[in-house]
C-alpha cells in the first residue's frame, strides 16, 4: 500500500510553529463595515469593473469581469453599495496603491441568485468559462486562474493529478485546518478536476506533521467511488512547493523552463479544490477563504474571511499585543511585509503573521559572501545561489539567466542558511524584475522601430502616388487642350499649352473671387449699409495715405 517516495535535493527544517494556531476552531470573521476589493488579485490581466459607483450589489455578484484568457472575475463579498472605484492601498511589498472597488456593506449579507452547476452535463470549455466567471484562482499562493490550469489542452493529457496539502511553510495552518474540517468538500472538488482533466491517477500529498489532516482526508477518500491515494510525505521545507511535491510523489522532475503539464502532471492546492467544490455544488464564487492569523497575537487561530476585509480587524480579533514590529502576509520564509494594516485580505492571503522582536529578531548586518556554498546545498531547485548572487549584484543578468535564474522559486532556503545573512532572494527578485523590464523595453523599441519604418514606407508611397496622380492629370489636360486647337486646325506648341493652362486657372480663380460676396451683410438695414459704405470709403482713403509716403520714399534713391 505504501508508496515509494523520492527525495528532492536541498531543503531546510525551520521551526514549525504550527501548534499555536491549530488549537482553536475556525471562526468566521464578522462582516466589516467596508470591503475593499482589489481588481488585481490573480496572475494575468486585472479584472474590469462592471459596476458603477452608487450601485447596490449583492453578495456573490460579479463586480469586475475577467479580461482575457489569463484572468478571472472578482465578486462582491457581501451586499451593500459601491462607494468608490479608485486606487487604494493593497498588500504588495511596494506599498503602491492599486485599483479597488470599495463596498459599504449594509449588514444584510443578501445573496445574489445562485445555483449549483451540473458539471457532468456541461461541455468542458463552457464549464471553464463558468469557473472563470466564478473568480477561481489558485489559493496556494501563486493565484493563477484555475480555469486555465483545468484545460488539459489538445496535446497535453494530464494523467496525474496531485492535490497539494503540503503546507510546508512555518506558522501557516489554513490548509491543515481546511483538511481537518472540510475533507469531503475538498474531495468533491477533486472529482470535478478529475472530470475536466481526465486524470487516472490522483495523489494527495500531506506532510507528516499534520496527522489529523491525514486521518480526515484518508477517511473521506475511502468513501469515494474513485481511487484517491492520500500520501504521507516527510516534512521538509519547501516540500509543499509544486515542483518539490511532484518530485517527492512521482520521482519526476519538471524540466527547466517547462510546465508540469508537459510531463503530464497538474497540481492544485487543497484550498483551490475546496473553492471549486463550493463553486460547482453551491454556485458560490470565490468570496472568502481561510486565513491563519498568528505570531505575536493573543489568540492565534484560523478565520473564514471575506475577501476585502481589512487586515487590522483580523489582528484585533486575534488580540493584538504591544511590541509588534511588523506584519507579514504569508509565512516567514516567503511572506511579504505589509506596508500598512488597512490593506484588505485578498485571494492570495493565506496567513497574517504578526512579528515581534522576540519571535523574529532583526537580521544582523549582512556580511560579504564567503562562498561557503551552503546555499547551494540547501537550494531545492538545484541552482548555484552563490553564483546567481554574484551576477545579480553585479548586474550581469545575462549570466544569471544562463545559470537558470528563472528556475528559482524564491523559497528562501538560501537566505535561511546563509552564514553572512545576505538577503539572497531579494537579489534574485531584483534580477528577475530587471530582466522583465528590459524585455518590456526591448518589445517597446521593436514596436517603435516597426512603426517608424512603416511610416517612412507610407510617406514614400504617398509621395509616389501623388506624383503619379499629378502627372496623369497634367497629361489628360494637355491632351484635352491639344484636341481643341487641333479641331480648329492650328498647331500649338507645348509651351503655349502650358500658358493656356495657367491662363485658364487664373480666370477660374478670378471668377471665384468675384462670385463670393460677403454673406454677413445680407439682412442689414439701409442705414447700416450706408454706414458700412462710409467706413469702407474711409479705409480706402487711409490705405492711399499709407501708400503715398512709401511711394515717395521709393522714388528718392
Amino acid at each position: 500500500m505504501s508508496r515509494e517516495l523520492f527525495r528532492f535535493k536541498g531543503g531546510v527544517h525551520p521551526p514549525e510553529h504550527k501548534a499555536e494556531s491549530t488549537s482553536r476552531p475556525i471562526h468566521a470573521a464578522p462582516l466589516p463595515k467596508k470591503l475593499v476589493i482589489p481588481l488585481r488579485q490573480h496572475i494575468g490581466n486585472p479584472a474590469k469593473p462592471v459596476v458603477e459607483v452608487g450601485e447596490r450589489v449583492l453578495k456573490g455578484q460579479m463586480i469586475a469581469a475577467a479580461d482575457g484568457y489569463i484572468s478571472t472575475a472578482v465578486h462582491a463579498s457581501s451586499s451593500g453599495t459601491v462607494a468608490a472605484i479608485d486606487l487604494q492601498p493593497v498588500p504588495h511589498i511596494s506599498g503602491l496603491p492599486d485599483l479597488c472597488i470599495t463596498i459599504e456593506t449594509d449588514g444584510r449579507d443578501e445573496w445574489v441568485a445562485h445555483a449549483p452547476l451540473d458539471y457532468q452535463a456541461m461541455e468542458s470549455p463552457q464549464l471553464r468559462m463558468q469557473l472563470r466567471d466564478l473568480g477561481l484562482a489558485g489559493l496556494g499562493g501563486a493565484v493563477f486562474p484555475s480555469a486555465v490550469k483545468l484545460d488539459p489542452g489538445a496535446s497535453h493529457a494530464c494523467p496525474t493529478l496531485i492535490i497539494n496539502g503540503g503546507e510546508c511553510e512555518p506558522w501557516i495552518t489554513c490548509d491543515d485546518m481546511l483538511m481537518r474540517h472540510h475533507a469531503d468538500e475538498i474531495l468533491q472538488g477533486v472529482a470535478i478536476m478529475r472530470h475536466l482533466l481526465g486524470s487516472t491517477e490522483i495523489l494527495v500529498g500531506i506532510e507528516d506533521n499534520k496527522p489529523e489532516a491525514l486521518d480526515s482526508m484518508r477517511s473521506a477518500a475511502a468513501k469515494l467511488d474513485f481511487a484517491v491515494e492520500v500520501v504521507k510525505v516527510p516534512a521538509r521545507y519547501p516540500g509543499g512547493g509544486a515542483k518539490q511535491m511532484i518530485e517527492t510523489l512521482t520521482g519526476k522532475q519538471v524540466p527547466s523552463g517547462k510546465l508540469s503539464t508537459d510531463i503530464g502532471i497538474q497540481v492544485f492546492n487543497v484550498g483551490t479544490s475546496y473553492a471549486l467544490a463550493r463553486a460547482i455544488h453551491h454556485g458560490e464564487p470565490l468570496i472568502s477563504r481561510l486565513v491563519t492569523v498568528t505570531g505575536h497575537v493573543l489568540r492565534p487561530q484560523n478565520f473564514e474571511v471575506l475577501i476585502g476585509t481589512p487586515m487590522h480587524t483580523l489582528i484585533t480579533l486575534a488580540g493584538d499585543r504591544d511590541g509588534t514590529t511588523g506584519v507579514l502576509m504569508g509565512g516567514p520564509m516567503m511572506g511579504v511585509p505589509v506596508p500598512n494594516l488597512d490593506v484588505p485580505v485578498v485571494k492570495a492571503t493565506n496567513c497574517i503573521l504578526v512579528k515581534s522582536k522576540e519571535l523574529f529578531p532583526p537580521l544582523p548586518k549582512a556580511l560579504p559572501c564567503i562562498r561557503c556554498t551552503r546555499c547551494a546545498d540547501a537550494c531545492p531547485a538545484e541552482l548555484q545561489p552563490q553564483e546567481l548572487f554574484r551576477f545579480a549584484k553585479a548586474g550581469d543578468f545575462g549570466r544569471a539567466q544562463e545559470y537558470h535564474l528563472f528556475d528559482c522559486i524564491e523559497c528562501g532556503c538560501c537566505s535561511y542558511v546563509c552564514p553572512s545573512h545576505i538577503p539572497l532572494v531579494d537579489f534574485y527578485r531584483y534580477a528577475k524584475g530587471e530582466i522583465w523590464a528590459r524585455e518590456k523595453d526591448k518589445r517597446a523599441a521593436d514596436l517603435a522601430r516597426e512603426r517608424h519604418e512603416f511610416r517612412q514606407f507610407r510617406q514614400e508611397r504617398e509621395k509616389k502616388e501623388k506624383a503619379e496622380k499629378l502627372a496623369a492629370k497634367a497629361q489628360a489636360k494637355r491632351a484635352e487642350l491639344a484636341a481643341v486647337p487641333a479641331a480648329e486646325g492650328a498647331a500649338v506648341s507645348d509651351a503655349d499649352a502650358k500658358k493656356a493652362l495657367i491662363a485658364a486657372a487664373l480666370a477660374r480663380a478670378q471668377a471665384k473671387k468675384t462670385d463670393t460676396a460677403p454673406k454677413n451683410v445680407d439682412q442689414l438695414t439701409p442705414e447700416q449699409l450706408h454706414q458700412i459704405e462710409e467706413i469702407e470709403a474711409r479705409r480706402t482713403k487711409i490705405r492711399e495715405l499709407a501708400r503715398k509716403p512709401l511711394e515717395s520714399e521709393e522714388k528718392k534713391p
Binding site: 503602491l96 537580521l363 548586518k365 531584483y430 517603435a448 512603426r451 517608424h452
Partner: protein, 188 residues
C-alpha cells in the same frame, strides 16, 4: 612538372568558382554592424543625435561618422553597450545632444487642441490619432516620448508627462540599498 602545374591550376579555378558563387549566393544585405547598433538604440526616433532617426545614426556609427555618446534616451547604459559591441572605451554622454530625462509620454490637452494636424505630421511613430479640425489624442502605448510633437504645436497644448511608478511598472530595487538602510538603523 606540367601535371603538377595543371593540377594546381585546375584546383585554383575550382576554388575560385566556389568562392565566387558563394559571394553571390550568401551576400549579406545591408550592413550587419548597423543592424546590431540599431538593435541597441532605444528607437525613440527623437533625432537628438543629429540624425533623422535611430537607423541613420546607427549607420553613421557603423561608418565611423558619428560618436557613440550622442543618444541621451539610451543613457550611459546605452553608451556602455555600444562600446562593448564596437570594442572601444565607453565615454560620458555628449551633453550638447541633451541630457537623459525620466521616461515620459506626450499628453494633449484636448480643450486647447485646435485640430491642426501639425503634431500628427511630426510624430515619427504615428502615435497620434486625429484629423483636421478634429481633436487629437496620443496613443500612449505607442508614444516613445521623443518630444518632436512639442515644437510644431501652434497652441502649446502638448506636454510631456513622466510615467509614474504604479504596480504593473514597479520593480525590485537593488537590495544593497535596503541592506545599507538596515546597517544604518542598527548603527544609529
Amino acid at each position: 612538372m606540367l601535371a603538377a602545374i595543371g593540377v594546381m591550376a585546375i584546383l585554383a579555378v575550382a576554388i575560385g568558382l566556389v568562392l565566387g558563387w558563394s559571394a553571390i549566393r550568401f551576400k549579406v544585405e545591408g550592413n550587419p554592424l548597423a543592424e546590431k547598433i540599431d538593435a541597441i538604440l532605444p528607437q525613440t526616433q527623437c533625432g537628438q543625435c543629429g540624425f533623422p532617426g535611430c537607423r541613420p545614426y546607427a549607420e553613421a556609427i557603423a561608418k565611423g561618422e558619428a560618436d557613440i555618446n550622442q543618444c541621451p534616451p539610451g543613457g550611459e547604459e546605452g553608451v556602455k553597450k555600444l562600446a562593448e559591441l564596437l570594442g572601444v572605451e565607453p565615454k560620458p554622454l555628449d551633453e550638447t545632444h541633451g541630457t537623459p530625462k525620466p521616461k515620459s509620454v506626450a499628453f494633449i490637452d484636448e480643450n486647447t487642441c485646435i485640430g491642426c494636424t501639425l503634431c500628427i505630421q511630426a510624430c515619427p511613430v504615428d502615435a497620434i490619432s486625429g484629423a483636421a479640425k478634429q481633436m487629437h489624442t496620443i496613443i500612449t502605448a505607442e508614444c516613445t516620448g521623443c518630444e518632436l510633437c512639442l515644437p510644431p504645436c501652434p497652441v502649446d497644448c502638448i506636454s510631456m508627462v513622466p510615467i509614474a511608478e504604479d504596480l504593473p511598472h514597479w520593480k525590485w530595487k537593488h537590495p544593497v540599498v535596503m541592506m545599507k538602510q538596515i546597517a544604518e538603523t542598527e548603527d544609529a
